[in-house]
C-alpha cells in the first residue's frame, strides 16, 4: 500500500511506460478500461448496476409468472429456488450498492470541491473487482445444463443459512460461486469505503468544513464507515463457509458440535448495517433534491446529519430481529425488539425534516422531485411495516412470510430504488449536458409508482393470510390467488416503466434538451461547473464560505428581507484554462495517469476463485496476477512525469 518514489531511471518504470496511456488518449475504449477518473468510474458503476437491475428484474418477473396462479408449472422448483436466490443477491449486492457507489463516485469530489478521489487507482481497482465478482457470480448459471433448463446458480436464498449451505445439503457449484463472488464483491466495497472516507476527510476544498458539506456527502461518509466495519464480518462468515465447503472444516457442522446459528449471527450482524448501507445513499440523494425543488435549504441540517450517525450506530445493535424465531429466549427477544423499534426515532426525524423542507417552499413538480417525494412516502410505509415486524410476538406470525417480502420491497424498492431513480433524473444533465425528457419522466414515475404499489401492497395481505416466502407453488384453496395475481400484474407494470425509462435515457442522450450548467437552480458546488464537467472538475479549487455555497452566490436578501437574484451571480465560467499547464499558479493541473494495473490486480481474484473450485493449479496464477498488478501499481508513477 505504501507507494514509493522510484528514481526516474528505474528499468521497471521504463518498461511500464510502454503500456501506459497518456491522458491525451481520452476517448478511446482503452481509455475507459484504464481510466482512473472518478466520473468515468462512476458511469461504469452506474451502467453495470443498471444492467444487473434488468437481470434481477427479469428474474423477478419469472418468479411472478410462476406465482401468478396456484400449482403453476411454469418453472420447476429447482429453477425457482435458484432464481429467487439470484434475484435477492443481485438486487442487493449488484444493484443497490454499486448504484450508490456510482453516485458516490460521480458526486463526492464535485460536491467537496476536489479534483478526484484520494486514491484514483484504488477506485478503479474497486470497480473492476466488483465487476469481476458480479460476472463470476452470474457465471454460475452456466455451470448447470442451462439449455435444458437446469440452471447452475446458487439456491440457498440470499442469506444462505447454515447448515443448508453446506455441501452435504446443497451440492453442486452454485453456492461456491455465490460465496466466492460475494467475497470479491466485499473486498471491492471495502476498498471503496476506505477511499471515500479518506477523500471526504482529507480532500475538501478550503473552507469546506464538515458542517458545510452537503448531506449527501455526510451520508456517503456514514455509509462508508458502515461498509468498512460490516464487510469484514460477512467476509469472515464466507471464509468459514469456504473452509467448510471446500476443505471439510466444521464451522457450521452440527454433528461436530458446530452451531448453525453462528452463521445467522454473523450474517445479520453484517446484514442489518447492510440495509442502512443500502438506504442512506438514497437518503442523501433526496436531501439534495428536496431543497432544490422547493427552493429552501434543508430543514434541520444538523438533525438530519446526526440522525444519520445515530442510525448508523444503532444498526449494530438490532440484528437479532432477523432471528426472533430461532429460539434465543425471551430476554434476547425483548431486548432486541426494544432496540429495533427505537431505530424508528432517528429515521422519523429525517422524514419529518424532509416534510418541513417542503413546507413553505415553492415546489416545482419535476421528475426528480416526484421520485424524491415518492421515496419519502413509500419508505415510510416500509418503515412502518418494519416496526410491525419488530413487535416480537406479531413477528412470530410474520417472519418468513410474504409480509417480510412486502416490507423489504417497500424499503428497498420504495426507498432505495425510487431514490436512486430520482438521483438519475436529477444529475443526468450534469454528466451528459442534456435533460431527460420531462413528460416521459412523469409517465415513468406514475407507472412505476402504481405498479410498485400494486405489486407489493398485496403481499402484506398474502403474508398475513399465512403465505410463506420462497415457495414455488401453493394450493389454490389457500385464499392467496387474487393477491398473487395482482402482484404479477403490478410487476409487469414496473417492467413497463423501466422500459419507458430506458427509452427516455437513450433518446435523451442524443436528442435531449441542452441543460446548461445549472438547469434546476440548484444549491451545491457541482452545479457551478460546466455540464458535463471537465476532466479536471474545477479550474480553480473553490473556496467555500457557507453551506449551499452556490446558492449564496446566486441569491441574496434585499432591504425588505425579500430574496432576490444577484444579477451576475452564478455565471459559470466554462472556458478551459488557456494553457492547461498554467492552471494554478504555474503548477499545472496534475491529473492522475490512466493505468491498467488495477484491472490486472482485480483479474487475479476470479482466477483464484475458479482455481479453488475446479483446479488448484490456477490459484498461484491468480496470486501472480494480483502481485504483478500491485507491484506495477506501486512502482508506476501516479501522475505523468513532468
Amino acid at each position: 500500500m505504501a507507494s514509493v518514489a522510484v528514481p526516474k531511471r528505474s528499468p521497471l518504470s521504463e518498461a511500464l511506460k510502454g503500456v501506459r496511456l497518456s491522458a491525451a488518449d481520452y476517448g478511446s475504449i482503452w481509455s475507459w478500461i484504464a481510466t482512473v477518473d472518478h466520473k468515468r468510474i462512476g458511469i461504469l458503476y452506474g451502467v453495470s448496476a443498471f444492467v444487473f437491475f434488468m437481470l434481477g428484474g427479469v428474474e423477478a418477473l419469472l418468479l411472478r409468472v410462476q406465482l401468478a396462479q396456484p400449482d403453476s408449472g411454469f418453472l420447476d422448483p429447482d429453477a425457482y429456488n435458484r432464481l429467487f436466490t439470484m434475484h435477492g443477491t443481485t438486487m442487493i449486492f449488484l444493484v443497490v450498492m454499486p448504484m450508490s457507489s456510482a453516485f458516490f463516485n460521480l458526486l463526492v469530489p464535485l460536491m467537496i470541491g476536489a479534483r478526484d478521489v484520494a486514491f484514483p487507482r484504488l477506485n478503479a481497482f474497486s470497480f473492476w473487482l466488483f465487476l469481476a465478482g458480479a460476472i463470476f457470480l452470474n457465471a454460475s448459471f452456466f455451470t448447470g445444463d442451462i439449455l435444458n433448463g437446469n440452471l447452475g446458480a446458487p439456491d440457498a436464498g440470499w442469506f444462505g443459512y447454515a447448515p443448508l449451505n453446506l455441501r452435504e445439503f446443497t451440492p453442486g457449484h452454485g453456492l461456491d460461486f455465490w460465496m466466492l463472488g460475494l467475497q470479491m464483491f466485499g473486498i471491492a466495497s471495502l476498498a471503496g469505503g476506505f477511499n471515500f472516507i479518506v477523500t471526504i476527510l482529507n480532500m475538501r476544498a478550503p473552507g469546506m468544513t464538515l458542517f458545510r458539506m452537503p448531506v449527501f456527502v455526510w451520508m456517503t461518509l456514514i455509509t462508508s464507515f458502515l461498509i468498512i466495519f460490516a464487510m469484514p464480518i460477512i467476509a469472515v462468515a464466507l471464509f468459514e463457509l469456504t473452509f467448510d465447503r471446500l476443505f471439510d472444516a466444521n464451522f457450521f457442522n452440527a454433528e461436530a458440535g458446530g452451531n448453525p446459528l453462528l452463521w445467522q449471527h454473523m450474517f445479520w450482524l453484517f446484514g442489518h448495517p447492510e440495509v442502512y448501507i443500502l438506504i442512506l445513499p438514497a437518503f442523501g440523494i433526496i436531501s439534495a433534491i428536496l431543497p432544490t425543488f422547493s427552493r429552501k435549504p434543508l430543514f434541520g441540517y444538523a438533525f438530519v446529519v446526526f440522525s444519520g450517525i445515530a442510525i448508523g450506530f444503532m444498526s449494530w445493535g438490532v440484528w437479532v430481529h432477523h432471528m426472533l424465531t430461532t429460539g434465543l429466549g425471551t430476554v434476547a427477544n425483548s431486548a432486541f425488539g426494544v432496540t429495533t423499534i427505537l431505530i424508528a426515532v432517528p429515521t422519523g426525524v429525517k422524514i419529518f425534516n424532509w416534510m418541513a423542507t417542503l413546507w413553505g417552499g415553492s415546489i416545482r413538480f419535476r421528475p426528480p422531485l416526484m421520485f424524491a417525494v415518492g421515496t419519502v412516502a413509500m419508505f415510510t410505509l416500509g418503515g412502518l411495516s418494519g416496526v410491525l415486524h419488530s413487535m416480537v410476538p406479531s413477528d412470530f406470525q410474520q417472519q418468513d412470510s410474504y409480509f417480510v417480502v412486502a416490507h423489504l420491497h417497500y424499503v428497498l424498492f420504495g426507498g432505495a430504488i425510487f431514490g436512486l431513480f430520482g438521483g438519475i433524473y436529477y444529475w443526468f444533465p450534469k454528466f451528459t449536458g442534456r435533460l431527460l425528457n420531462e413528460k416521459l419522466g412523469h409517465i415513468n414515475f406514475w407507472l412505476m409508482f402504481i405498479g410498485f404499489n400494486l405489486t407489493f401492497m398485496p403481499m402484506h395481505v398474502s403474508g398475513l393470510l399465512g403465505m410463506p416466502r420462497r415457495i414455488y407453488t401453493y394450493n389454490g384453496e389457500m385464499g392467496w390467488n387474487l393477491w398473487n395475481q395482482m402482484s404479477t400484474v403490478g410487476a409487469f407494470l414496473i417492467a413497463l416503466s423501466v422500459l419507458v425509462f430506458l427509452f427516455n435515457f437513450f433518446r435523451s442522450l442524443r436528442h435531449g434538451e441542452e441543460s446548461g450548467p445549472d438547469p434546476w437552480d440548484a444549491r451545491t458546488l457541482e452545479w457551478s461547473i460546466p455540464s458535463p464537467p471537465p476532466e479536471y472538475n474545477f479550474k480553480e479549487i473553490p473556496t467555500v464560505s457557507s453551506r449551499d455555497a452556490f446558492w449564496h452566490q446566486k441569491y441574496r436578501e434585499d432591504e425588505t428581507g425579500k430574496i432576490v437574484p444577484v444579477l451576475a451571480g452564478g455565471a459559470v465560467d466554462d472556458e478551459a484554462p488557456e494553457d492547461e499547464a498554467e492552471g494554478e499558479h504555474g503548477h499545472g493541473i496534475h491529473l492522475p495517469s490512466p493505468s491498467y494495473m488495477p484491472l490486472i490486480a482485480a483479474s487475479g481474484f476470479p482466477v483464484i476463485a475458479t482455481g479453488l473450485i475446479y483446479d488448484y493449479a490456477l490459484v498461484p496464477v491468480g496470486f501472480a496476477l494480483i502481485l504483478i498488478g500491485f507491484f506495477g501499481w506501486v512502482l508506476e508513477p501516479a501522475t505523468e512525469e513532468e
Partner: protein, 254 residues
C-alpha cells in the same frame, strides 16, 4: 368561483389518483384480514395466536395513524406549496430546535408505550409449557414432519410415531408442548391459526407451546427455506377432545 373550479380541475384531481389507488388497496388489505382462509393469522383459534394478533393491532393502529399523517401531510404540502410564480423565492428557513425535539420525543414515547405490552406478551407466551401440557416430539426432516407421542407407547415402550402429513392429532382445549428437533437443516414449525412459528434447529431442541381452543383442523407448513421441496413441507393438524384422541391413538398403536 373560478378559483374553486380550479381547485377541482381534472389536472389537479389527477394528482389524487394514486392516493385513491393506495386507499383502495388499503381497504382491500383490511378486508383481507377477516376472510376465512386456512392459514389466516387473524382468524385465530388459540390463545397464543390471539395474543400475537392483539400485539399486531396495538402496533397497527398507531402505524396507520402515522401513515395518514405522513402521506396526508405530503399531499397537503404538495398541493399547498406548489410553485405559483417561478420567480418567487420563499424565505430560507434553516430549522427549528423545538420542532426537532418534539418529533424526536413524541415517537420515542409512543414506541416505548407500545413496547410495554410487547414485552409483557413476549414473557407471557415465552414461558415454559405448563406441567400438564400434552407433549409431542416433532421431528423435521427434508421435506416432511414426524410427530412422536411419548404419552402413547406400545408394549415395548416405543412411543407412537405418525408420518401422515394430512392428519396429525392433538388434544383440543389443552396446552400442547411441541419439542422441535431437526435431523438435517433448519426448518420452521408454523400453524398460523394456533400461533406463530418457531424454528427447528439441528443440534438444539426448541420448545413451543400452543393451545387449540376448539376442536378443528388446522393447516400449517414449514416456513424456513430448507431446499428443493420446501413449498410442499405442509401439514394438517387435527385437534379433538381428549377421549377421541386417546381412541385414535389406541387405534394407531395397533
Amino acid at each position: 368561483m373560478k378559483q374553486l373550479l380550479n381547485r377541482f380541475s381534472p389536472r389537479r384531481l389527477g394528482h389524487l389518483v394514486p392516493i385513491f389507488v393506495l386507499l383502495a388497496l388499503l381497504g382491500l388489505f383490511l378486508s383481507g384480514c377477516d376472510t376465512d382462509t386456512p392459514q389466516n393469522t387473524f382468524d385465530t383459534k388459540g390463545e397464543v395466536a390471539e395474543k400475537q394478533a392483539e400485539i399486531f393491532y396495538i402496533a397497527m393502529w398507531p402505524a396507520i395513524a402515522i401513515m395518514i399523517l405522513v402521506l396526508g401531510g405530503l399531499l397537503v404540502i404538495m398541493l399547498r406549496f406548489r410553485e405559483r410564480d417561478p420567480k418567487y423565492v420563499p424565505p430560507q428557513i434553516h430549522g427549528n430546535t423545538r420542532l426537532e425535539l418534539a418529533w424526536t420525543i413524541a415517537p420515542a414515547v409512543l414506541l416505548l408505550a407500545i413496547a410495554v405490552p410487547m414485552v409483557v406478551t413476549i414473557w407471557d407466551i415465552g414461558r415454559e409449557p405448563s406441567e400438564d401440557a400434552f407433549r409431542v416430539n416433532v421431528i423435521a426432516q427434508r421435506f416432511s414432519w414426524e410427530f412422536q407421542y411419548p404419552e402413547y407407547t406400545d408394549e415395548d415402550g416405543t412411543p407412537l410415531s405418525v408420518f401422515d402429513q394430512s392428519g396429525f392429532h392433538i388434544p383440543a382445549g389443552r396446552e400442547v408442548a411441541f419439542y422441535l428437533e431437526s435431523v438435517d437443516v433448519i426448518h420452521s414449525f408454523w400453524l398460523p391459526k394456533l400461533g406463530g412459528k418457531l424454528d427447528v434447529v439441528p443440534g438444539q431442541v426448541n420448545v413451543l407451546w400452543l393451545r387449540a381452543d376448539e376442536p378443528g383442523s388446522f393447516s400449517g407448513q414449514c416456513a424456513e427455506f430448507c431446499g428443493l421441496d420446501h413449498a410442499n413441507m405442509t401439514m394438517t393438524v387435527i385437534a379433538q377432545p381428549q377421549d377421541e384422541l386417546d381412541a385414535w391413538a389406541a387405534e394407531m398403536l395397533e
